[in-house]
Amino acid sequence: MKKSMGKGRVVSAVLIKDLRIEARSRVVTNQVLPFAGLIMIMFAFALDNDDVLQRVAGGLIWLATIFSLFVIVQRSFAIDTVDAALDSLRVAGIDLSAVFLGKAIALTLQLMALDVVLIASAFLLYQVQVSAVGLVLLVTCVTCATTGLGFVGTLYGGLTAGTNGRETLLPLLLLPVVAPVLIAATRATEAAFGSGGAATSEGWAWVGLLTIFAAVFGIGGSLAFGPLIDE
């Protein structure tokens, strides 16, 4: 009898599968990125004040990220539920926590790419500035925040996968959960940009909170994902 795949191999197989689907379909590149860019432009129309835009740039970046998260998660799980692909993974007898980790890492990488573009658009559209030390804080903040969002997005995406009304249920469930990420990532990004006279050092405590969030939902998600889709 053929030996079942190890956890690491399952993680990398699911990760490569999700990234390959994105590379072939280019949904994030062709649809989600323009959508997020439009959000940044629409905020500029709505606020219509350069000083205010510079002050709130951090919050706008993370709001655009969270709105885009819903789109990416729903698409990722819509593909997995078509033709019962998720059920096929389940009956293959592989470790479902590895499936969770693979999908979460793929989602994190897509969110990271999205944030690079969003931050670049904030430099261009809102004229924010960042020092060398601020850049280190910004990179750490993006890494920790997108990791947390990747874990929590995958977990709740699995929960609502294949259910009626998932388009409206996912934001209702996810928004309260990602509130700590929105608050912490916004404050850390503002510290990195020096918005409103914030010192860069103020941002590190928020990065700590983002790390705790990612760890809690990484562990919680690994344990809960299997029972959630094991139906």
Binding site: L169, L172, P176, V177, I183, A205, A224, E231
Partner: protein
């Protein structure tokens, strides 16, 4: 109506009737004492009377969500995944959402009179609002399509995740800002600064609301049981009818 069908459709027992009568008596006392007997506060004036509803409802809302979490944990971790735990969790969450709404409404009214605003972005208020939305989401998950076991498993996981989420939300909002009035009754030094009758009325409110909570949860989980039985029997009857039909043909 036959004796057996009356038994099935009845959600009351001797115990719930006793709890119900006790709840009515205590609540009448709270209304009379809170509105008539207790004095107005030196600083807050008449608005302090809102506290006799606000504090007990907040207490019950948090107790309800703890009950939901514990019942969900029992459902998930017990060897025999008993739907009884799921029904208690669901009933408790429904009643908790109702009490949380009362907490938010009475808190807003008190805030308007005391702070001059219906809403302030204070950690405790914000956490309470997030808890309210989280459990509305929990109830939405309970309403998803699927079998009763699927419903139980999904909602139990969401309830346990909420236990992880709430401290994180609270901690982040505390970091963010703090304005709420400090603890008056649960002072860490045990120094209670309240008139005796006011304090007694407040604790009566807590007891009364707890009795109302228990009464509502007991009845609600029994109506859920009846609803689940109706679905099961409906399915059994439909199968039986089809079998009889095919036997006749």
């Amino acid at each position: 109506m036959s004796q057996s069908s009356r038994k099935v459709s009845n959600t009351g027992t001797q115990a719930t009737r006793v709890i119900g009568v006790l709840a009515i008596v205590v609540m009448i006392w709270v209304v009379v004492s809170g509105l008539v007997l207790t004095p107005a506060d030196v600083v807050q004036g008449e608005s302090v009377r809102i506290m006799y509803v606000h504090v007990p409802s907040a207490w019950i809302a948090y107790v309800a969500f703890i009950v939901t979490a514990i019942a969900s944990a029992f459902y998930i971790f017990a060897k025999r995944h008993s739907l009884g735990f799921d029904r208690v969790a669901g009933a408790s969450a429904e009643v908790g959402v109702m009490f949380m709404a009362i907490t938010l409404i009475t808190g807003s009214l008190w805030g308007r009179l005391t702070w001059g605003e219906f809403w302030q972005w204070d950690p405790r208020l914000t956490t309470t609002a997030f808890l309210f939305v989280t459990y509305i989401g929990y109830l939405a998950v309970r309403g998803l399509d699927g079998s009763t076991q699927q419903r139980a498993k999904r909602s139990a996981v969401v309830a346990l995740l909420a236990v992880l989420e709430i401290p994180l939300v609270h901690f982040s909002v505390v970091f963010w800002r703090s304005l709420h009035q400090g603890a008056t009754i649960l002072d860490p030094n045990g120094d209670v600064k309240m008139d005796g009758l006011m304090l007694f009325t407040l604790f009566s409110g807590v007891v009364g609301f707890t009795l109302v909570f228990i009464w509502l949860v007991l009845h609600r989980q029994r109506t859920m049981l009846l609803s689940d039985l109706a679905i099961e029997r409906g399915l059994d009857n439909a199968i039986l009818e089809r079998q009889n039909e095919s036997a006749r043909n």
